[in-house]
Amino acid sequence: MKLGVFISLLLTALIAREVIAADVERLQSPAGKQTSLSRLTTDANGRIHLSWVSSTGPLSSLYHASFADDEWSNAMLVGDGEDWFVNWADFPFFSANDAGMAANWLRKSSDGIYDYDVVATFYSAATAQWSDPAVIHRDDVSAEYGFVSMLPMHNDATLIAWLDGRETRRNESHAGAHIAGGMTLRAGIFNNEGKKTTEWQLDDLVCDCCQTSSAMTGSGPVVVYRNRTNEEVRDTYITRLVDGQWSEPAAVYNDNWQVAGCPVNGPSVVSGNGLTVVAWFTAKNDNPTVSFALSQDDGKTFGAPVIVAQESTNGRISLAVLDAGGFAISWLETSGALATIMLARYDKHGRMMKRLAVAETKSSRRSGFPVISSHGNDVYVTWTDIEREPRVKVARMRF
């Protein structure tokens, strides 16, 4: 390569990338080598929980550690197995409530090439033990299940929402190939021993391969997801549990993104201080865009969308509420194979207060989905560094 061309490419790369903010604090990560698929959540007591997957040959292991007083607890093994379906976009969820914790992973089912189940385990603080992992959908249909989101409920229960492929196995032309039925969205409430007390089908046709997200509003739980119509419009929808009934799913905003494919880029929802925020990714007209919309009535109605990033983003969004009002959002800015994890703080009116770069990463799928969570006005960020071997990283930004 000629020197001039090299310098030109180097300068282009440097100019295109964001400068990492000086006030981003890198934290010691409790995850070691060969770790990925990390997730953060904050419990009601303000304790930060990090979960991640460690891979050793065919063995996958889900670990957890909590962060308090600027120290990580010892890593705790949640579950492991050699029969996991490990996927960069559909990875274990972790939830913590007053009395315990819950987590899931995907386990290959015996039938079918692509089939796997959602397996969950529940930790009781009283017994200090994880329950035996169990499949959460008891339909006995071998299909694809996944993209779980969990939400701590009252009475130490956990709401779990998931994509459920049981209907895709109806009227199949031949195994594993032609999808005749649609992917559905289902949810159930589980006690801290893992017993399911209620189950619902929330939507009979949704996008096959995007994450779900759930939040507790002042009026009750909400679940957001990427919908799918018969005309292949795949916009972000919300449904709310009010007085024991799930509302008719409604669009957060009608992007009218028509695509007969998988964006692999689900929406995110958070709620707090009377504000509910939904953020989502679209690429209508091949124009990648990250947007959010605000609701002042617990997700019943939403204001006009606000664009966070456009053109040079591949989405992979995450949200967290802040005590000072408003919220934080993370997403990826991309420049070819390179990417930057971006973080922005918005006030409760949707005005951007601060925007910064947290870390450099790759746009590769192996870098996964960065996830944020908050305590007070501190935002914690986790992601997978794939510069050498995959390794989970954690940083903190104090707004």
Partner: protein, 174 residues
Amino acid sequence: MFAPEQLFICICKPSEFVVFCTATINIRNGKVLKVFVFVVAIFTHAIALQAGELQESGRGWKVINYWSKSCAPCRVEIPELNYLSEALEPLGVSVMGVNFDEDDRARTMQIAARMGITFPTLTFEHVRMLNLTSPAVLPTTYILAPDNTVKAKLIGAQDRTQIMAKLAAMGVGK
């Protein structure tokens, strides 16, 4: 001299088969104690593309499809691309695939075989050489001119008619 465990993966020519051969040799005091050789011949049309073949096919048009094992529309589309990989060959058009999930090479070839993919699967290096940008939606199919410039980006599941119509509109095969 063999290391205690070595894995040999021989990737054969198109329409032949892939041979996975694992040889484990334990040596103590210069004496071979145990030799285990497992040869598994997997008859498959999932084929690896050698660097030379990419250069060779670089003289023609290319249809490059991004797929994933967890993408249901991809699985519907693959038989169409299998068909096109043979039907377009006389026109000098190569059909190739990219594993969107970026699994390692051995795993990618294993998945491609299980998905019934009969067209070549590109390596990370091939993708870099072609300067392809990873799409936002699966499946996505790029059509590249002989100079490797992207002439079309087809988002979502396509059928053979749509892809052939796109190629015809660009004068390919005329």
